[in-house]
Amino acid sequence: MTIRVPIVENILNANDHLAEQNRGRIDSAGVFSINIMASPGAGKTSLIEQTLPRLKDKLRVAVVDGDIATSIDADRAANAGAQAAIQVNTGGDCHLDAVMLRGALEQLDLTQFDLLIVENVGNLVCPASFKLGTHKSILIASIPEGDDKPYKYPGMYRGVDALVINKIDLLPYVPFKMDYFKHGVEVLNPGVLTFPLSAKTGEGMDAWVDWLIGQVKAM
């Protein structure tokens, strides 16, 4: 005889549960943490590279870098002044998940840091589904990607706490309708905190860095 067993359980429940444990660990060390997501080439590592020197002597920063292979990103973060830089190679997975971050956290004495920056795998789809346990999710959009990305990747744009619009120095050179882009963002994530900047020229970096410092102080 067949019996129906009602369940109604979110499929990623196990990951969410582990993410909560990660959060507990980060919270108990008094660290503020962010999860930076973006497509490949949007400037995740460049933003981190330009952020770290501006936090020098102000915050102690640990960076966890997720990538399918290589330690290029962690090396760049270490060279830019991260007190610790840990590379997580996902071995083909298209995103970091809570288990992978847990493994990285185990290598860190979190009490030695003020800020934890997690750089996710370059991807506008999968990272949005897997909570890590960080306090804030940050999406970097970049001008050359085009103004239609909110419409094409709604899941990513919906779930984030702040949006960095990188490479604004390229606005005069590429077709990018800012009003159209911002409308898509506004529908998906009304009132989301936005930082237009250029990691290359430094324009707009101060507002971003000040926000990070303010978030750390508020912990």
Binding site: T2, V5, S129, Y151, P154
Partner: protein
């Protein structure tokens, strides 16, 4: 895509509940997936055949209920399916719309013997 991780999660959830119900066999799994949750049914089925092989869920049928995405205009309350690349309300043209359906991503129930 991350269908492997998702399939493993579905299997874990199904086996846990089947054990609690003292079931000997899982015959089907009823999964609800919204349009905005990016999952490919065929890939989940492919991984399922591999992952469930030595479990009481071997051969279980995966039943996907797809929920279409829906947006609702906050101005005129009109509910509509978003066109590819324009989120404006087709009724009144308002730019103020909210997503009201399509995020579903859950195991609703399992059928067991």
């Amino acid at each position: 895509m991350h269908e492997l991780a998702v399939t493993q999660s579905i299997l874990d959830i199904a086996l846990r509940h089947a054990t609690q119900a003292s079931a000997k066999k899982i015959t089907s799994i009823n999964i609800v997936i919204g349009e905005f949750a990016s999952i490919v049914d065929d890939s989940v089925q492919f991984y399922w055949d591999l992952l469930a092989d030595d479990t009481i869920a071997k051969g279980a049928q995966l039943c996907f209920e797809r929920i279409a995405g829906e947006m609702t205009c906050t101005n005129c309350q009109h509910a509509f399916h978003p066109k590819d690349i324009d989120f404006a309300c087709p009724n009144c043209g308002s730019q103020f719309v909210q997503i009201t359906k399509g995020d579903e991503f859950r195991v609703d129930s399992i059928d067991v013997e």
